[in-house]
């Protein structure tokens, strides 16, 4: 995918670095900022990657800007890749796969059947007042940041949006990233699996160079 632009906003904490997807010397010296847009015309796919946290009290305007950008750039569908705290799952959510999905009513009409065939699990709603009243249920995505806000806004504004998320724990999230991208691929078939086993595409994804040194620097040699 090639970089086609920036999502320049006052809502995100500034950050800069060199190309996180550098594959060699020739493309390593390209400046990257906190939110960038990539595109793949052959798949009619645009990706917005958000790399830094929100500035306090700015997440609301950010959601508005993002959704109006989605509308003005005429994106037919939006897929939101997200996560939620694994430690806050309820009994029901602890069972089976850690991957969940959500569809806005407009998208449900269009792809509901297809998703049913995939045998995915929809994100469960949880009781609003556990123990007191179990009938009133709400959508709760702890640790999901703006996921819930974007989803509910999209529902009311008629944006076709799907949320794909995984329950994650803090620590090494690389396996989580693979699980989520495979989940997405099951649906959109962005890459074809080489083997017949359709779930095993892990070996085909490339790890970006910016994922290096996730566990800190080398150890001082004096230790040994």
């Amino acid at each position: 995918m090639t970089k086609v632009g920036y999502f320049y906003t006052d809502c995100l904490v500034p950050m800069v670095g060199n190309n996180p997807y550098a594959t060699g010397e020739e493309n390593s010296l390209e400046l990257s900022i906190n939110a960038e847009v990539y595109s793949l015309p052959s798949k009619r796919l645009v990706v917005l990657q958000i790399r830094s946290p929100f500035i306090k009290n700015k997440y609301r305007p950010f959601c508005q800007t993002l959704l109006s950008w989605v509308k003005s750039s005429k994106c037919a569908r939006v897929v939101l890749l997200s996560s939620s705290h694994a430690y806050q799952r309820d009994d029901e959510q602890l069972l089976g796969t850690p991957l969940r999905y959500l569809l806005t009513p407009d998208l449900e009409k269009a792809v509901g059947g297809l998703i049913k065939e995939l045998n995915w699990k929809e994100m469960e709603k949880v009781a609003a007042y556990p123990g007191i009243n179990d009938t009133e249920k709400v959508l709760h995505i702890p640790g999901g940041g703006i996921t819930k806000m974007l989803f509910t806004e999209s529902c009311s504004k008629g944006v076709q949006m799907a949320v794909l998320l995984k329950f994650c724990s803090e620590g090494d999230n690389i396996p989580d990233a693979f699980a989520l991208v495979n989940y997405l691929n099951e649906w959109l078939q962005l890459i074809k699996s080489e083997s017949n086993n359709s779930t095993d595409t892990s070996s085909q994804w490339k790890i970006p160079s910016s994922w290096r040194l996730l566990f800190g620097n080398g150890l001082p040699p004096a230790l040994f």
């Binding site: 920036y6 320049y8 006052d10 904490v13 500034p14 950050m15 800069v16 670095g17 060199n18 190309n19 996180p20 550098a22 390593s28 010296l29 390209e30 400046l31 900022i33 906190n34 830094s52 946290p53 929100f54 500035i55 306090k56 009290n57 700015k58 997440y59 997200s82 996560s83 939620s84 705290h85 430690y87 702890p142 640790g143 999901g144 940041g145 703006i146 996921t147 819930k148 994650c168 803090e170 160079s209 910016s210 994922w211 290096r212 040194l213 800190g216 620097n217 080398g218 150890l219 001082p220 040699p221 004096a222």
Partner: protein
């Protein structure tokens, strides 16, 4: 929630938002408090370009600027004070007034080197050369405003931006141990439009730069302004001669070469700067 050594550790959001913020619906009172706070946190750039008369930043015509040099943090600001700035060739043309949890600056241009301040200077012999010393803390929500109000006054054609900043060597990610690194050392980042020679190695992945230096560089990248950031990684956080001198290789760069003042004088000023700082830090005086 994990508790280490008995204290309660609040797990941060996976998507950069506090748990509390997520759940809470905003009431009218909240909104009013937020608005009041926002008003108080608004930053003001007072330009004094016309014979001492201070004018509001947005009111006037943009001015032509060919070189803009920004020093962020005490060490970078002190580097400019000792090697570039003097009262004969430079005049103060602007000051930033801001208020936040760490720092308060007023609209006075008479500052001590130990104060936190953000001042703009102009080269008298070439008024298109602008320099900024920013030793005060500019909070996350104020950085965007800072950019809008500072760059908003400049004509962006033929503008070149140089940013100097420092950060702790512990933030530097490398295969080696940070203990073996010869700190302080310089690393650079540049925008796509910057075509000149850079005087030190470029910052490697997965290292990133945050805060105001990142905000300025992002702005330049988005608006296609040639810009370079020199980040000095150091293990001393306060004002320190070794860290200040780590910026010395830049004196031979194309943009600073013509601005360097007498070096013997520089060392004297540097010494004076540090002694003033020490007196202020000494509780026994």
């Amino acid at each position: 929630m994990a508790t280490f050594f008995g204290e309660v550790v609040v797990a941060p959001s996976r998507a950069g938002l506090d748990e509390e913020e997520e759940a809470r619906e905003e009431t009218p009172e909240d909104r009013e408090i937020r608005r009041e706070l926002e008003k108080k946190r608004e930053i003001d750039v007072l330009w004094t370009l016309k014979s001492g008369a201070s004018t509001e930043s947005s009111a006037d015509e943009p001015f032509v600027c060919s070189k803009f040099i920004v020093a962020i943090g005490h060490n970078a600001a002190a580097f400019l004070s000792s090697f570039i700035l003097d009262s004969v060739c430079w005049e103060v043309v602007g000051v930033v007034k801001l208020w936040n949890e760490w720092c308060r600056t007023s609209n006075t241009t008479n500052v001590l080197p130990t104060d936190s301040f953000c001042l703009f200077y102009r080269l008298i012999s070439d008024p298109t050369v602008l320099l900024c010393q920013c030793s005060c803390y500019v909070a996350e929500d104020q950085q965007f405003q800072w950019l809008e109000k500072v760059f908003g006054r400049m004509q962006k054609e033929d503008l070149q931006v140089t940013i100097l900043s420092t950060c702790p060597v512990a933030d530097y990610k490398t295969q080696e141990s940070t203990l073996t690194l010869p700190s302080p050392f310089l690393k650079a980042l540049k925008t796509k439009e910057f075509k000149e020679q850079v005087c030190c190695p470029l910052l490697e992945q997965p290292n990133i730069v945050r805060d105001l230096p990142a905000a300025v560089l992002s702005y330049c990248q988005v608006w296609q302004i040639p810009a370079v950031l020199y980040q000095c990684y150091t293990d001393v956080i306060k004002l320190d001669t070794v860290t200040i001198e780590a910026f010395k290789p830049l004196l031979s760069s194309k943009i600073l070469k013509s601005l360097v003042k007498d070096v013997s004088e520089s060392t004297k000023i540097l010494k004076k700067l540090l002694t003033t700082n020490e007196t202020h830090n000494n509780i026994y005086i």
